[in-house]
Symmetry: C2
């Protein structure tokens, strides 16, 4: 992190146009920290600071900025300046930025770039967002099968400065198909005269370019990979996904799932920078939908109006009974959703999980029924105690089973199970809770 | 993933004791996939399969198993077999396993190991769980400052097979203090006769061994590191944390936060393998606590018993009004909690966030008040419409502000903000919602 002294120094140097101090300071500070600093500056100050950085470091710092900030700055840069930055940026990041620029800016930038880079940008920018193609990089080292170790090492030395990672070298056959890989570790340990295909690993994990980016992230995490090769339908190598991008995807996915779990829509903007409009539109839809779901609970209660008038004490227990069903249901749905997301459980284990949940929920329901029994007796006598005890037991079980079942059903119809959010499960459990409670009350109190 | 043919082959070969087929199959399958297969076997079959693997691969597959499974298998292995495995396991993983073994097993294993390994295990196993020390590894390469590039490369070649990562080489001074680092990339690009301290990077990100493991994971993600050096209070290098462990920590943290968000206690066991007892004990405490919180809502309603008897229609709107406050509150608390966890927002921005939330919540409250106005009129006439419209507007705003404030207060008193779970926020919002609703009803209906 930037310390206070560095922070004061940076601010003063920018205000004073003190180039020398700036140049010294920026070498002391990590690119990620400089990016954090840049993010909090006005566009003008940010651009000024960036121009003091040597191109390679400028591209590095720029790469750590969020998409929105990158775009704002890029639109204000000179076209020559931006095209220079494009040359030094990581291939995956520049393709993302390219997609965000205005049409005019895009055309002008492409015109200023060399043919090879132009084609690379066009190609990487063409993959649909959310696919592995959209996060892959074209910076990697390849050699063909008929190469020896010494030659391969030369290729690595030669390409190193432009490769996002040189720690995996991919071996292609004459059709550009991926046939093996060598880690840099294997390379420096092998005899220089050995052929690469004698030393290479052939049991490779790879991914098709059209697969979702979460799958790429999951594979990297599962197999502890530094980089995952991306192939097309003919097994030709067309890119790699690196572990740091996989970490970002995993973080973004977890955030999205947590937000869905609280009925909040997805967004590229972080919470810190989000506008009022963005937050409003992500939250309002579900809130309004849930109001209409909860009208059903109200209608359920209204249906038992007469009974409530006779036994007003029933209303005392209403919130805690329906809330308990909702809470138990949220727990079950959250366990299920996260288990599916991390690959800890498989959707086909659902029968087994349901049987176990029935046991767990019975124990929970029993505990809570006992906890509430005394209060029922105290507030309303023996009959009310019976009503609330039985209701609690059944409501907790039903709530839990709904929580476990809803994500399963969503998967079955091809939706994201994370949509079975806490508030949705709670609303459904509320309605059912109301019906169970008053049915039991009717049965016990009116006979 | 293992394909069906391989799966059938493995099962048959184990049943038939067909060593040759087994040996062929295990070379085709990724260690992580073999581990997955092992996990679903009986202890006996798992041990049989493991013994067919060469030691190095056996340790690799074993390392991919979960702690609970590792422990079960280790307790059944011969002590010689287990001590051999210990020699080949990653230093961080074997220290974790060591901590889980029975006292007798531990002593016997230590006796069978060489002094160096014994001390390494004792040292790594001594760090408190949850600290950086508890996840660090002692497998890394160091050279002293007075070394040239050619010598450093020799050290790398020599230590490579035992180092979890050789892609970062750490440079120590005479006091074993961390003074710089060289990536393998820098090493192979530099002139062989240059001295390491001429080429090395000195602006290093490092972490103190006592810091929480989440901080290590956060640093690795923030600075896109392959490995993070761990130092003691005297800046002596004592370990490294690798990116793959950081990914595991980040995933486990996200899971824990999601579970907390649904009032579920933490656990080392995954959901898929968890026992009924484990799930019951993680869920029951909060459920029962929340029952007592909801009794307050019930008491609030009971306090207005007379009014309810006079205007039974008020009960119809009760669930949707209190649920809306709770839902808006869950949204705000989830945004806040996740923003804090990912470092997207800082606790000191809270004033600014609160002001923005007030705007967002006002818009949400207004929308929902308008959505409910007509229904209020339809069910109860003009006065009831007024009551529910005003109530909705205020309840949504108050609920949102509670959701944003609760995580903030928890951080201030030094608790985990993720404890401000959906169900907790909902319960608090419910109580306040009941009071707001009936206060407004009293004001409008009884004057």
């Amino acid at each position: 992190m930037i310390n206070n002294e560095q922070l004061a120094g940076l601010n003063k140097a920018i205000a004073d146009d003190d180039t020398l101090t700036l140049e010294r300071l920026v070498t002391e500070i990590q690119p990620a920290d400089l990016a954090e600093f840049v993010r909090h500056q006005t566009t003008k100050a940010a651009l000024k600071l960036l121009t003091y950085l040597p191109l390679e470091e400028r591209a590095d710092v720029f790469g750590y900025l969020k998409g929105v900030t990158q775009c704002e700055l890029a639109e204000k840069m000179t076209e020559t300046g931006l095209s220079q930055l494009f040359v030094y940026m990581n291939s995956d990041e520049r393709a993302d930025l390219f997609n965000e620029l205005s049409e005019e800016k895009r055309q002008n930038i492409l015109r200023l770039l060399a043919k090879e880079e132009r084609e690379d940008i066009r190609r990487l920018a063409s993959y649909e967002e959310g696919t592995t193609g959209s996060i892959m990089s074209s910076d990697y080292v390849t050699v063909i099968t008929k190469t020896n170790i010494a030659q391969a090492l030369e290729v690595v030395r030669h390409t190193a400065p432009n490769a996002e990672t040189i720690y995996q070298i991919y071996i292609l056959n004459a059709e550009q198909q991926l046939t093996g890989a060598l880690s840099l570790r294997q390379l420096i340990l092998a005899k220089p005269e050995a052929m690469v295909d004698q030393v290479m690993t052939t049991e490779l994990v790879s991914i098709n370019v059209a697969e979702p980016q979460e799958e790429a992230s999951r594979l990297i995490s599962r197999y502890d990979l530094l980089a995952l090769p991306v192939v097309d339908d003919n097994r030709r190598l067309i890119g790699i996904v690196t572990y740091d991008d996989a970490m970002d995807v995993a973080e973004a996915e977890a955030t999205e799932d947590m937000h869905k779990g609280a009925s909040i829509g997805p967004s590229d903007e972080g919470f810190g920078q989000a506008t009022i409009r963005n937050l409003y539109s992500r939250r309002v839809n579900w809130l309004v939908l849930l109001v209409f779901a909860n009208i059903l609970s109200g209608a359920g209660i209204a249906f038992y109006e007469e009974m409530i008038e006779t036994y007003v004490v029933l209303v005392f227990f209403l919130p805690l009974l329906v809330a308990s069903g909702g809470n138990a249901g949220s727990q079950a749905s959250t366990l299920m959703i996260r288990g599916l997301a991390t690959g800890d459980i498989d959707i086909k284990d659902w029968g087994k999980l349901l049987a176990r949940e029935l046991m767990v929920a019975s124990c929970l329901g029993l505990t809570m029924a006992l906890a509430i029994m005394g209060i029922g007796f105290w507030r309303g006598g023996i009959e009310i105690a019976q009503v609330v005890t039985y209701s609690m037991f059944i409501i907790v079980i039903i709530g839990s089973l709904i929580g476990l079942t809803l994500p399963f059903l969503l998967v079955k119809v091809g939706w994201d199970p994370a949509t079975a959010s806490g508030p949705l499960v709670t609303s459904i459990a509320d309605i059912i809770g109301v019906l169970i409670y008053f049915s039991i009350a009717t049965a016990i109190l009116t006979f």
